[in-house]
């Protein structure tokens, strides 16, 4: 007998942002992301409290994936950040912190929601237009003739993830590898449409970071015992490859529901094996040299192939299938029935390699746009972090091909942008308001909220109690020891600005970021030689940051716009 239960009414809360609980949750979330930000960011130890795997991280991708946020308002925030990260990899924390700051500041400004949202949008487009314009002074064009900006970008990304536990030499080494892996994935003969290849990250845990390396082609890990059996590999100009995504293990996976009744003496297993051996004969007569299977190959089929001089490698896993198919030009075969000769592909050469304790079959392609980044790090959690960082860096480099610019990092873009907005709202408010009927006071209030959100975002880079200054010429970011308030001679205390472009020896005039603001006109139009003179710049991915800025503002608008939360309690 089934029991009927009356449906419970949905719970409806109005003005969710005024609730203390929502505020508290948002502030915990803000605390978590803010404390992770930047090269000196603090790490979070993620675990389930019951002996599950432990992860130490400061990256938004890892952090947000394991934060089971239930509170709806926080959930909006984390979901949009995760969406941003899944498209652009980088700048997740930037987006999350900026969004939190905006919500907090705009609420405090006390304007009506519609006013705030509209003006916020205006300010956002002011920012994006500026960042995309030629006069933008926090953007550098990337010339692919020189490796330096790309190397700086990779290096900046690596240093901003402290949980990778890299020394300076190791950062240099990995940054160079990332760049090489990226360059190997760019096709040599570029036509009007470029299709980028793939860099496959091959794990090698427990080894030293400096043992990491990049190889063209692909590495397939195989057990030593199996390797012994395929040796020696015959010499040839080209090897014919068949790639199977179907299991060749000889089991009957699709018998469906119900019971299959067989007569005594009939063996389904043998029937399937016969089918497999038939397939084997076809492969041999088609002169296939290498059979790769995503899943398992039946030992008897393996034995058959081996005796006919065909190398068989199984259990390569789903992750390698796409790059393998791309590199060898094969169509993955999904059926055992018959194999069309057009599905075969080829590789130029085959050899074996040993790294650490692992043995690999190395597939060398005819035209290399697929490469393997063999990545080492001493312990598991640091390896996971390094892998994620390398993926982010490779992605950032790919995005840079599309939009060949980089942004100045180290907080300088944020402070400069804030200075630019302040100057614009003060000196040319009409150009922003566009006759929408909002007053200049309203604009000034929102712009103050917006700018201080950007500035406190930049300030989040500091975790050791230092103070942040900004200069009155370029509007860049400078950090100084806490108790050095109103020191007479700033140039002696300061070194370089956050991105490393300017030195304190220039007469700039500094003021505290948190103090009262003396509006100034930040210098626009970055001189070309400025970027070329500085050797070690901190840079950010242009596309990712621009998207992060948009996502942050739009998500903040969405959160501010919430008037009811309706919870289905059934």
């Amino acid at each position: 007998m089934s029991r009927l239960e009356a449906k419970r009414a949905s719970l409806c809360k109005s003005e969710p942002l005024t609730s203390e609980r929502v505020k508290a949750t948002l502030s915990v979330l803000k605390g978590v992301v803010t404390s992770c930000y930047g090269p000196a960011g603090r790490l979070k130890l993620l675990h389930n409290g019951r002996g599950g795997s432990v992860r130490t991280t400061s990256q938004s991708a890892a952090l947000l994936a394991s934060l089971p946020v239930t509170q709806p308002v926080s959930k909006i925030l984390t979901t949009s950040v995760q969406n941003h990260v899944s498209c652009f990899s980088d700048c997740g924390l930037f987006t999350a912190i900026l969004c939190c700051n905006l919500v907090e500041n705009i609420q405090r400004a006390g304007l009506t929601t519609t006013t705030a949202i509209t003006l916020n949008k205006h300010l956002l487009s002011l920012c994006t237009e500026y960042l995309k314009s030629e006069i933008c002074a926090c953007r550098l064009p990337v010339d692919f003739g020189s490796a330096r900006p790309l190397l700086c970008l990779a290096r900046s990304l690596l240093t901003s993830k402290p949980a990778c536990l890299l020394t300076r030499e190791e950062v240099e080494h990995v940054a160079a590898l990332i760049l090489r892996a990226f360059l190997l994935s760019v096709p040599e003969n570029a036509q009007d449409r470029i299709t980028l290849g793939k860099s496959v990250i091959v794990p090698l845990r427990g080894q030293r970071v400096t043992d990491s390396t990049v190889l063209p082609g692909m590495l397939i890990e195989i057990p030593e015992v199996q390797l012994m059996r395929i040796l020696p590999i015959k010499k040839s100009d080209s090897f014919k490859v068949a790639l199977f995504c179907a299991s060749l293990s000889g089991d009957l996976s699709e018998t469906g529901e119900g019971t299959v009744v067989l007569s005594y003496g009939v063996s389904l297993e043998n029937a399937v094996l016969d089918q497999l051996l038939h397939l084997g004969r076809q492969l041999v007569s088609d002169h296939v040299d290498l059979v790769i299977c995503q899943k398992v190959i039946h030992p008897s089929l393996k034995q058959f192939l081996r005796t006919h001089g065909v190398i068989a490698v199984d259990r390569v896993g789903v992750a390698l299938m796409e790059p393998l198919s791309k590199m060898t030009g094969t169509q993955p075969i999904g059926s055992l029935k018959s194999v069309s000769p057009s599905s075969y592909g080829s590789v130029k050469d085959l050899c074996t390699a040993k790294f650490g304790f692992k043995h690999f079959l190395h597939l060398i392609p005819n035209e290399a746009t697929v490469c393997s980044l063999l990545l080492c790090n001493r312990n598991d959690t640091a390896w996971d972090e390094l892998k994620l960082t390398c993926q982010t860096a490779l992605h950032a480099l790919q995005l840079t091909i599309k939009e060949p610019y980089v942004l100045l990092g180290g907080g300088c873009t944020e402070t400069h942008l804030a200075a630019y907005i302040r100057h614009k709202t003060r000196d040319e408010p009409e150009s922003i308001l566009r006759g929408d009927g909002y007053t200049q006071t309203e604009l000034r209030l929102i712009s103050e909220a917006f700018c201080s959100a950007l500035e406190s975002l930049a300030g989040s880079l500091e975790h050791d109690g230092g103070e942040i200054l900004t200069d009155r010429k370029y509007g860049h970011f400078w950090s100084v020891q806490a108790d050095s308030a109103s020191a007479v001679n700033w140039p002696d205390l300061l070194l370089r600005c956050g991105c490393g472009l300017y030195s304190s020896q220039e007469e700039l005039g500094w003021s505290f970021l948190k103090g009262t603001h003396h509006p100034f006109v930040p210098q626009t139009c970055l001189p070309r030689e400025a970027s070329e003179s500085a050797s070690d710049l901190t840079l950010d991915c242009f596309t990712a940051k621009l998207s992060g800025l948009q996502v942050a503002v739009e998500t903040a608008n969405l959160i501010l716009d919430l008037s009811y939360v309706i919870e289905d309690r059934n």
Binding site: T255, G265, P299
Partner: protein, 714 residues
């Protein structure tokens, strides 16, 4: 699920405290004299005797997140190098205390991270000077000079801790009773027994001190060895810039070299026995077995390749250990071939198979009727029915067994080695038909048999064809076991051999079952140490020399940065433009000193563990004294070596030094050691930078009942 977030570091850093308290449990494992721990399971009352960090952490219940990180780090070191885990565990403790000290002194976390990793890097560059090349150790391999011949030599040389002109010899003899047995002796500047570096003596206190009289001889040996150490030492070194007698030079590869009058003579280790004794760290029993294994392998490699022309490396995959608990220690030995235990019911069969060449097949998986290869999913919904009843007398297993027997008979196979389990019923049947079936065979052993006998491993018996069958295997009883012992355990040990097989079995025996694991571990530790030294072709001068060099180097760095300020600062901050970069000079000496304290603790704990000093304070004072001298001299490396030569010339005349040939030094392996340091510091810095713990999947109530404070909820 609810996510909770606990703030780790407030005023006191919880993570670091947890780390240091975990590491404290492994303090007694450091150094040559280890005290074992007895671990007893509460539920099943099983107990095990452990004396290494790996085994300790394996047996601890580490649900705590920081503990788990520690366990991961120790396991990773063990999986990669099989050694260095005790050092790792201890340094984790020492450096987490150091990091905490820095926090108390108000050093910003980012600076602690930066300066500590810079400090360790600088140490790593410095200790390159103490590397000794290992070259051609197999050139002079002969059977006249074996490991056992050198067993009685003392292996303790702490290069700078020497006995000053005859002082305190008597006192030394007395103290030695506590810690040493015949094969080791120790010496120290103050006449007290100093660490006999890394020598493993769990039974030291049990064994009676048979020959105190030998200690003075051993002492002499140690001092004599120092003369040799000085003799073969070098001329120009950057490390000697402050001293007059520039004898040492450091070659580009970091190795020390002597510039003599005629030709440059390299300071190197080129004798196998010398290397082995140096790396045994006092565990002569284990190293003796390793030595025998190496000689057997080298011999068979020589047979195979005509000579040992290419550099011979110890092939770890061809060494197999067979543990026979219950037998007396003296049964431990090394034999060529494969030794394993089989049921006593096979005795008659083996008697029959003895003295004849038999054929073998190798099975990769289980040898049972229902075994299927990995990745094969068995369908559960298949039912076989039979039209008539006459076929149903035999069960599927019986059918399968008769099929297997048919194959074995068809190919004339008398031996089956299976990597997995074997059906009991099959073993029984095969015994009747004179076929020996052995299960649970190690994969390396399978590989060795495959190579030597020509057999090709298969997954199923149905796959067997003539090409898969190997031949030329001989089976025999393992000679040493007395029959009554065999009856007791209902198993007998047998030996399988094939012409040209380079497999070596090390039989380990112990009357105490609880000691078996430790014994096996110690054997592998020695074996991997030697393997690593041969592979890297270099070793460190051991006995605490590297650690002392690190200690004094950091001390000097700290003092230099105190005087010079920011100049010559190689510190690296991730964020180079931060204000921290300019405050680096201010905090640097403090952090470097804290890091150095870690080394200090390391050395004094070793001294304490060897019972040379009754208190850590005493040991600490002793090290402090030498540290001061080394720092004052301006070059710690030259201090270590000069101290040696000064004292030796004071005591010995040239007559004695002739006898020095063959007296071993103590060596340490290079990469595993420095990797252990690096991993230890990495872990400490990782935890230091962690400010909160995020616990996923715990309900409010659970957390509230455990610890009410310090949690925030999302």
């Amino acid at each position: 699920t609810v996510m909770a977030c606990r703030v780790v570091s407030k005023r006191k850093h919880m993570g670091l405290q947890q780390l240091s308290s975990f590491a404290e449990t492994g303090r007694t494992f450091l150094g040559p004299v280890k005290s074992s721990k007895f671990i007893q399971g509460e539920e099943c009352h099983e107990s095990v005797l452990i004396s290494s960090a790996v085994r300790l952490l394996e047996n601890l219940d580490l649900t705590n997140a920081v503990g788990q990180l520690l366990n991961e780090a120790v396991q990773a070191q063990n999986n990669t190098y099989r050694t260095g885990t005790n050092t790792l565990l201890f340094l984790v403790g020492a450096w987490s205390r150091a990091a905490e000290e820095c926090l108390h002194l108000g050093v910003p976390i980012s600076l602690v991270v930066s300066v500590m990793s810079e400090g360790l890097n600088s140490c790593l560059e410095e200790v390159v000077s103490l590397q000794v090349p290992v070259r051609n150790v197999f050139d002079l391999i002969d059977n006249t000079k074996t490991f056992s011949g050198l067993e009685t030599f003392n292996t303790s040389l702490f290069p700078f801790l020497q006995i000053p002109s005859g002082a305190g010899l008597r006192q030394k003899e007395r103290d030695l009773k506590d810690v040493t047995s015949q094969s080791l002796a120790v010496s120290s500047l103050s006449g007290r027994p100093v660490k006999s570096p890394e020598l493993f003596r769990p039974q030291a206190k049990v064994e009676t001190d048979k020959n105190t009289s030998q200690t003075s001889q051993a002492l002499k040996n140690s001092l004599l060895a120092n003369t040799r150490c000085r003799k073969s030492v070098l001329t120009h070194s950057r490390h000697f810039c402050s001293t007059d007698n520039n004898q040492w030079i450091s070659k580009p590869d970091g190795f020390l070299e002597q510039h003599g009058a005629t030709t440059p003579k390299t300071y190197e280790c080129n004798e196998l026995v010398e290397l082995e004794v140096g790396l045994s760290h006092g565990d002569h029993n284990s190293m003796k077995l390793v030595d025998e294994a190496v000689r057997l392998q080298c011999k068979s490699a020589g047979v195979q390749h005509g000579n040992c022309s290419r550099p011979f490396l110890l092939d770890m995959s061809r060494i197999f250990t067979c543990c026979l608990p219950g037998l007396h220690e003296t049964f431990s030995c090394v034999c060529p071939g494969y030794i394993t235990v089989v049921s006593i019911t096979s005795t008659t069969l083996i008697k029959e198979l003895q003295h004849q060449s038999i054929r073998v097949i190798l099975i990769e998986g289980d040898l049972t009727e229902n075994y299927r290869h990995l990745g094969f999913n068995k369908s559960t919904n298949i039912k076989t029915v039979s039209e008539s009843t006459k076929f149903q007398q035999e069960s599927p297993e019986e059918l399968w067994i008769s099929h297997v027997l048919q194959v074995l008979i068809k190919f004339n196979v008398n031996l089956v080695l299976a990597q997995g389990n074997v059906s009991e019923r099959l073993i029984e049947k095969c015994t009747q038909t004179k076929q020996l079936v052995i299960g649970s065979v190690n994969s390396n052993v399978m590989q060795a048999f495959a190579e030597a006998s020509g057999a090709v491993p298969v997954a199923y018996v149905t796959q067997v064809n003539e090409n898969c069958v190997g031949s030329g295997v001989y089976v025999t009883f393992w000679r040493n076991v007395p029959f009554d012992a065999a009856v007791q355990i209902q198993r007998i040990a047998i030996m399988l051999k094939t012409e040209g097989m380079n497999l070596v079995t090390v039989v380990l025996t112990s009357p105490v079952t609880a000691q078996m694991q430790g014994k096996e571990d110690r054997f592998w530790t020695c074996a991997y140490r030697l393997h690593c030294a041969l592979k890297e072709q270099k070793v460190f001068l051991g006995g605490g020399a590297v650690e002392f060099l690190c200690l004094s180097h950091l001390q000097i760095l700290a003092e230099q940065s105190l005087h010079k300020g920011n100049q010559g600062c190689s510190g690296w901050l991730r964020n180079t433009s931060s204000w921290l970069a300019s405050s680096l000079a201010l905090y640097r000496p403090t952090v470097l000193k804290c890091l150095a304290n870690g080394w200090h603790r390391y050395l004094s704990t070793i001294l304490c563990n060897t019972a040379s000093y009754s208190s850590e304070f005493e040991a600490s004072t002793f090290i402090q004294h030498h540290l001061q001298n080394a720092v004052d001299s301006g070059s710690p490396l030259s201090y270590i070596l000069n101290e040696c030569s000064k004292q030796n010339s004071g005591i010995f005349n040239s007559g004695i030094s002739d006898k020095l040939e063959g007296i071993p030094r103590v060596y340490d392996i290079v990469t595993p050691k420095i990797e252990a340091w690096r991993r230890a510091l990495d872990l400490v810095l990782l935890v230091l930078q962690t400010d909160s713990e995020i616990i996923t999947g715990l309900g409010h109530t659970q957390i509230n009942s455990q610890e009410p404070e310090g949690f925030l909820f999302l």
